[in-house]
């Protein structure tokens, strides 16, 4: 039976992964992600799985690649500087089409930066992700409940497409406590898929499992283009809040989107028609969400805790550069709902600066 609890985002995510059937975690401590590793260091053994605290983040990815090749549902989590070390493994997971669920609990800034909240990893996670045409599906929870729900869904997506899926969250969603409904435990059969490495049957002794695509690059390119196109067509997820009549539409994800929801309420209370497109998938980018925007819309306001406003190019592409785009980029402090409303009023008045 589903269970109610009050949990920290990171711990709820870890518990949700176990309930989705994950039995292998390999990772390294880094703030603000460490609770996942600490929680699994005891909880994983209660469900008879394996948890390895690795020599570095890079190792964690290669270990889980081996575990996934054996049919396990696998997890590794990190943040900023640690997530940077995931990229070699991410490219291998993509290139060899091995499912995995990875998590980036975003922290502040380039280099070591800071351990506080920020949203500066969008480009790295959504458009980076390893050498050689790698592409991961990216999910962006905005609450502890959504961490639980999306991590469950992440395993199904990873296996459906044989591709890594990344849950991109942030220091606040990861660290805060909220009420949550935990799903029931699912059993995962390690022999479920035919691509999994297992003991060979007598008539399979001539089989060659080399782990490589096993096709020419022309065929591989066609296969991957079709796979990525199918993801783009079928896996866009978003939440639209009062978009259809809005004069200004916010675009945000994660912690920033929660502030925008509050801003929509505040704005509407004073007669300002503000709406919100909340990204639930950052890749594929939910272009379909933008169809609801009315012809009278004065502009889009991207709200993001970053320096560059990294979502902006994707918003411009999704609107085919047909709308003015404005920004509120608060970097290291959580955006303020009143400031969101003020900027929306400036946009309507024609006094705001485009980005």
């Amino acid at each position: 039976m589903a269970e109610r609890a009050i949990m920290k985002g990171n711990e709820a995510l870890a518990e949700a992964a176990l309930r989705a059937g994950c039995r292998f975690f390999s990772g390294y401590p880094i703030t603000p992600q460490t609770e996942v590793l600490e929680y699994l260091s005891w909880r994983m053994y209660e469900v008879r799985g394996h948890m390895i605290q690795t020599e570095d983040e890079l190792t964690g990815l290669h270990m889980l690649l081996g575990a996934s090749l054996g049919g396990n549902r696998v997890l590794s989590t990190s943040s900023g500087p640690g997530f940077a070390l995931f990229h070699e493994g991410m490219s291998y997971l993509c290139g060899c089409e091995i499912p995995a669920v990875l998590v980036d609990v975003q922290r502040l800034g380039a280099a070591c930066g800071g351990i506080g909240v920020s949203q500066g990893d969008y480009e790295e996670v959504v458009h980076g992700g390893g050498n050689g045409d790698s592409q991961c599906i990216v999910l962006t929870p905005a609450s502890v409940q959504e961490e639980v729900d999306l991590v469950q869904e992440a395993y199904d997506l990873a296996e459906k497409y044989r591709n890594p899926v990344i849950v991109m969250t942030d220091a606040i969603i990861g660290q805060m406590m909220e009420g949550v409904t935990l799903p029931d435990f699912k059993e995962h059969d390690i022999n479920k898929y035919d691509w999994v490495y297992r003991p060979l049957k007598t008539n399979e002794m001539g089989k060659i499992n080399a782990g490589w695509p096993g096709r020419s690059w022309t065929e591989q390119a066609k296969h991957l283009r079709e796979k990525f196109a199918s993801m783009q067509q079928n896996e866009q997820r978003w939440e639209n809040v009062q978009v259809s009549d809005a004069d200004v539409v916010c675009v945000a994800y994660g912690i920033s989107s929660r502030v925008c929801k509050e801003a929509v309420k505040k704005a509407r209370a004073k007669g300002v028609k503000l709406g919100l497109i909340r990204l639930v998938t950052a890749w594929p980018f939910p272009e379909k969400a933008f169809a609801e925007i009315s012809k009278e819309c004065k502009g889009i306001l991207v709200v993001e805790m970053s320096i560059k406003g990294q979502t902006v190019p994707d918003v411009k592409l999704a609107t085919k550069c047909g709308l003015s785009v404005y920004g509120y980029f608060s970097v290291d402090i959580v955006p303020d709902a009143d400031i969101v409303v003020e900027i929306a009023e400036d946009i309507i008045a024609g006094t705001a600066q485009e980005v």
Partner: protein
């Protein structure tokens, strides 16, 4: 004495030959590994995790389960697989560059965890696939394309001896073999068997280093490179069993 018939192991039959250079040690190393696997009755129940570069030559010379992960990462990839399927025989197969340079952290930490897998390292004292650069195992005085005047301790540091690194560590098994002579090939095969048996008995981490020639990058004939092994390489890196531990 009855004549012994030479048979190619089942998992290597009916395939194009491996793509290693003439006189390379990888062909012998691969063959004796698969002979042991067949003799143990594990042909249908094993996975080889190859490194890239020359270590991946064997990937295309074998049937069954093989995987070539990123350079230097064969050991952790094997670790994750073995934890998932503990009843299978799981080994990594890599060179000295992968194991003592880019993947050195795994070489240390897998031994510290005494992980129940087998690592096989073919040490030819240079980076073969990229054209013969200096590796951590390159001998003092050895000329490579990145130590053209010969390795010096002052400029490049001293060569790594894995038996010194692992000295005193609580792992299941450590041995060093060689493919320079029939006697050493037979010894090496026995080491591999022991390493695999320890893994299947759950004793922990087993590691077999196999010294091999690289005539192409040493700039020698096949026979010349065997002579260099016997005159120089095996004097610095002697064959033998170094750690023979019990149950985990």
């Amino acid at each position: 004495m009855a004549a012994k018939t030479f048979n190619i192991p089942t998992l290597m039959q009916g395939l194009p030959p491996h793509t290693a250079c003439q006189g390379c040690g990888h062909g012998i190393a691969g063959r004796i590994i698969y002979e042991v696997i067949e003799e143990m009755g594990m042909s249908s129940n094993c996975v080889a995790f190859h490194d890239l570069a020359c270590g991946a030559n064997m990937l295309f010379a074998q049937k069954g389960n093989g995987f070539s992960g990123a350079h230097g990462r064969a050991i952790p990839t094997a670790t994750g697989f073995k934890r998932t399927r503990p009843d299978m025989l799981v080994f990594s197969y890599a060179g000295d560059g992968a194991t003592y340079s880019i993947g050195m952290q795994h070489t240390i930490h897998t031994a510290l965890r005494n992980e129940n897998i087998t690592a096989i390292v073919v040490n030819n004292t240079n980076f073969g696939m990229t054209g013969g650069q200096m590796s951590p195992a390159t001998l003092i005085g050895q000329k490579t394309t990145s130590s053209p005047k010969g390795r010096t301790a002052e400029l490049n540091g001293n060569p790594i001896d894995i038996t010194e690194v692992y000295s005193g560590m609580k792992i299941a098994y450590l041995a060093r073999g060689s493919v320079d002579s029939v006697a050493n090939i037979n010894k090496t095969k026995a080491y591999i068997r022991k390493a695999f048996e320890k893994q299947m008995a759950g004793c922990g981490f087993s590691f077999v280093e196999i010294m091999a020639p690289c005539p192409t990058n040493w700039g020698m004939t096949a026979l010349g490179s065997i002579k260099r092994m016997q005159d120089e390489v095996l004097k610095l890196y002697p064959v033998g069993e170094y750690i023979d531990g019990g149950a985990k």
